[in-house]
């Protein structure tokens, strides 16, 4: 029972994570070279990367030389804000993957979630202990319902979820950003002063900051981490999660063993939508405090990359979301050196490309090598009736 030992399991985990680590490492290297070559200066690249890392994980050298605590807490806040949202959209995509669906619609689900949080956050006067959970709930429900639609279209009408979720993204953009936010839900003008976006949410709906006002590190990261823990528990420890994975990995076998395939599919997709909706809530309740005229970063789409780099596993998704949260937070600091702040997204994109390339390469290799291996020599020595190969 060699592979049951903890050590083997650990090395097994390491082995399965290797491609992602290599993909991220290679992307970091390539982007480094790109900066060095375009700037024609090696030191600029070194400096840019230093700024990116310290800007994400905190300016430790500066702090050691006596800079105030905010030198650490401010970068943490930026990284946590971005990381938390990426974690939730990444989880959204990976939960859909678990049941065998490709959720391209996290962006749209995030939009309706964000809007719901903004509306509930501004409309009710409640104590914070009720108001904040209510906003989160509203965002989760809205995102979940919005993801129920493609699940229904898939199961009831045979529409491929990739098509329907992409289209529903546009529906969400049109509905939320092009109509509701500029139309019926637009904040009222203050005198002659017109305002963009929706009404600001009340203080009771804001996600409390954890390290004082200087850092934007707020409760959102904790919520995202708890969500990751919950997803992990559900997928690996409950029979419902097991059934969900069974549906994703072998739908026919799942059906034959009596698993309610449709119900599990609906549940997973609705959960995926809720997670994306929560990501929208984090954005509104944690940093924007309203639904802005446009939401800006396409975190919903980033979720696809985060999920794939994280091997669709809650732990991997957490690590990759935090990493890219850090890189993106630090990326803004590279601008000081004339390096565009979207470089971390380039790194993320390249890493995704490498992972996709590996999948294609493996499929190619499997097609090439179809010879079945012989059993290990230990078996050959046994005199029991031969077992198949």
């Amino acid at each position: 029972m060699a592979s049951s030992s903890p050590w083997k399991r650990l090395t097994g985990l390491g082995a399965s994570a290797t491609p992602s680590v290599l993909a991220v490492g290679a992307s970091l290297l390539i982007c480094f070279l790109a900066i060095a070559l375009t700037k024609n200066d090696f030191t600029v690249a070194v400096e840019a990367y230093a700024k990116m890392f310290w800007g994400g994980i905190g300016d430790w050298p500066g702090w050691a030389e006596g800079a105030p605590f905010t030198a650490l807490s401010r970068p943490w806040g930026e990284a946590a804000t971005k990381g938390g949202i990426l974690l939730l959209t990444g989880l959204s995509v990976s939960v859909a993957f678990a049941v065998g669906l490709f959720n391209i619609g996290a962006q749209g689900q995030m939009l309706v979630g964000a809007l719901s949080a903004a509306v509930v956050g501004a409309a009710f006067q409640l104590p914070a202990l009720l108001h904040l959970p209510l906003c989160l709930l509203a965002a989760g429900v809205a995102g979940g319902l919005y993801a129920w639609l493609p699940a229904y279209l898939k199961l009831g009408r045979g529409v491929h979820e990739v098509i329907s979720t992409i289209m529903l993204n546009w529906v969400a953009v049109s509905l939320v950003e092009n109509w509701l936010v500029v139309g019926p839900l637009r904040a009222e003008a203050e005198g002659s002063h017109s305002r963009s976006g929706t009404e600001e949410i009340l203080a009771t709906a804001q996600l409390p900051r954890l390290l004082g006002e200087a850092s934007r590190l707020h409760l959102g990261l904790v919520i995202a981490l708890l969500a990751a823990l919950g997803v992990w528990l559900w997928l690996t420890r409950t029979r419902f999660g097991f059934e969900t994975r069974a549906v994703g990995l072998g739908p026919e076998a799942a059906r034959a063993s009596g698993i309610p395939v449709q119900r599990r599919t609906y549940q997973a997709m609705v959960l995926a939508g809720s997670l994306a909706g929560l990501a929208g809530a984090l954005l509104v309740l944690g940093t924007e405090y309203k639904f802005p005229a446009t939401l800006g970063a396409p975190y919903g789409f980033d979720g696809i990359a985060i999920s794939l780099i994280g091997l669709n596993h809650p732990l991997g998704v957490t690590l990759s979301a935090l990493l890219f949260g850090v890189l993106r937070a630090g990326g803004t600091h590279m601008q000081l050196l004339g390096v565009h702040k979207s470089f971390p997204e380039l790194i993320q994109g390249l890493a995704l490309l490498f992972i996709a390339g590996r999948v294609a390469w493996e499929a190619y290799r499997v097609r090439r090598r179809k010879i079945t291996p012989l059993p290990p020599p230990g078996e050959a020595a046994s005199d029991a009736p031969a077992v198949g190969v």
Binding site: E252, A256, I259, T372
Partner: protein, 495 residues
């Protein structure tokens, strides 16, 4: 490695069989010969000349043709189109269908095949489709013809016909290589038999003077597992556990796959369903297990209507060993213990309320792996990494462990080696002794006849006949399988 220093010599006009258990390397060796795989070591000589066969195309150019176990035909094209596919006679850049037909007719005439070049392949019987494959190879000038498990899908009559064709081809100077693990037929058709084991060619014997037992021992490399023990006939008083009354079900193309099927399986009885592939066997299993809705008729389990989802039916004590193992029975990327939990993932010892009972699952899996001698005995191994035989052992263990009342077993030993086959058969006999009602649906007539107390023959979705064990007769069943009209068989008192 799939092959290790395997050697093979073929003479002109010879009928040679290559035997071995599944995974012994038979197909791999043939694939090397057919240019599908490249050997790491060793060489191939044709007529004394050393050659490198880098693709099937090159092999064909050297006169080596292969008929695969799973036919490589385009169902909605005609026989002629299938045969000339790849080097079609052209006219104005398009297929010259008339000339193609003429060419194919000529080839058929030369080798004594009766095939209509204009017929659609999908309308042909399996036996005829196989002939199309053989004609295809001959048409391309094959002198050495490799037939991979050619009788796996044929009725006894069709098999005999195939052997006749093979003998004719050998007489005409062709070399025919049979790959098989059915020893009796190998001994009856081949002159020389090459035995493979674990990637090596371990023995070569003349067919004359070799017994099936000797050959089997060479294949296994030791003593054979014990044969199925004699057994008591089923008591006529045994209650019917499973009953079907006039059950019909739809199939593809809007046609009825099952029409008015009535049958019973009693407690402690193995009932076999014989028939040529595609006569409603798969649909029958699906209707029973709840994977397909019946369009008419009624099903009963212990007198109560058998309805509901596959899960509901499992709950009532009906388990299923499906035909399509990879698609329906196992989930390859999951672990062995996860696969062991499938179907019972909601109940002890696999679950504890909503939670997976990790320890219970591990213990039960370890015990079953030991009982069924699954290799490797590692509950955490990836299911897809197990050999077909070991995968099937896991499936059988899982489906028999809950002591079911009814077991719907479809093709339980397809692709398994002798040792695994014997074990599966012993287990089914043991379930019968325990009092389970076993419905065994198999395309392997030998298997049905060896295990069943009673046999129904399915033809065209109808019950074409019913025989009890005392009346078993391969020829007669073979005729029923082909739908030959016959006076209704008199059913003797069971037993």
């Amino acid at each position: 490695m799939a092959l290790e220093r395997a050697s093979l010599e073929l003479g002109e006009g010879e009928l040679v069989a290559v035997v071995g258990e599944n995974g012994a390397g038979k197909t791999s060796l043939m694939n090397v010969l057919y240019g599908l795989y490249q050997p790491d070591q060793g060489e191939i000589r044709i007529g004394g000349e050393r050659v490198r066969l880098k693709s099937p195309k090159e092999a064909l150019a050297r006169g080596i043709g292969m008929v695969h176990q799973h036919f490589m035909l385009v169902p909605n094209l005609t026989v002629a189109e299938n045969v000339v596919l790849g080097h079609e006679p052209r006219r104005f850049g398009l297929l010259d269908f008339q000339r193609a037909c003429a060419q194919v007719e000529e080839t058929c005439r030369r080798f004594g095949f009766r095939l209509d070049p204009r017929a659609l392949v999908q309308d042909l019987s399996v036996g005829s489709q196989q002939k199309v494959e053989i004609v295809k190879a001959l048409h391309r000038g094959a002198r050495i013809l490799i037939l991979d498990e050619p009788t796996a899908v044929l009725t006894p009559q069709e098999s005999d016909e195939l052997f006749g064709v093979a003998r004719e081809l050998a007489r005409a100077g062709h070399t025919v290589v049979f790959i098989s693990h059915k020893l009796r037929e190998v001994l009856s058709v081949a002159e020389r038999i090459i035995v493979m084991r674990r990637g090596r060619t371990v023995a070569e014997v003349k067919a004359a003077g070799t017994s099936p037992e000797q050959l089997a021992e060479l294949m296994v490399g030791g003593k054979l597992p014990e044969a199925i023990a004699a057994r008591e006939p089923v008591s006529p008083q045994a209650p019917a556990v499973l009953e079907l009354r006039e059950v019909s079900a739809g199939g593809a193309h809007g046609k009825n796959a099952l029409s008015g099927v009535s049958l019973t399986v009693r407690q402690g009885e193995i009932v076999g369903i014989a028939g040529v592939d595609g006569n409603g066997q798969s649909e029958l299993a699906e209707v029973l297990t709840g994977l397909r809705a019946a369009s008419g008729g009624q099903l009963f389990l212990e007198g109560q209507p058998l309805i509901g989802t596959p899960g509901d039916r499992r709950g009532r004590g009906l388990t299923h060993i499906p035909e399509d193992r990879l698609r329906r029975a196992i989930i390859s990327p999951m672990t062995v213990e996860e696969n062991m939990a499938l179907g019972r993932q909601h109940a002890a010892p696999f679950a504890h309320g909503p939670w997976i009972d990790q320890e219970g699952r591990r213990e039960r899996t370890a015990r079953l792996l030991k009982d069924y001698d699954v290799r490797p005995q590692d509950p955490l191994a990836r299911m897809g990494g197990l050999s077909g035989g070991n995968q099937q052992k896991v499936v059988v263990a899982r489906e028999l462990d809950p002591a079911p009342k009814v077991i719907v077993v479809v093709q339980p030993t397809r692709g398994l080696d002798i040792g695994a086959v014997a074990q599966v058969h012993r287990r089914l006999i043991a379930e019968r002794a325990r009092g389970a009602a076993v419905l065994l649906i198999s395309l392997d007539l030998d298997e049905v006849l060896a295990l069943a107390d009673r046999v129904y023959v399915l033809f065209g979705g109808r019950i074409a006949g019913e025989l009890v064990r005392a009346q078993f007769d391969e020829r007669r069943i073979g005729r029923m399988m082909l739908g030959a009209p016959e006076a209704p068989p008199e059913i003797a008192a069971h037993g």
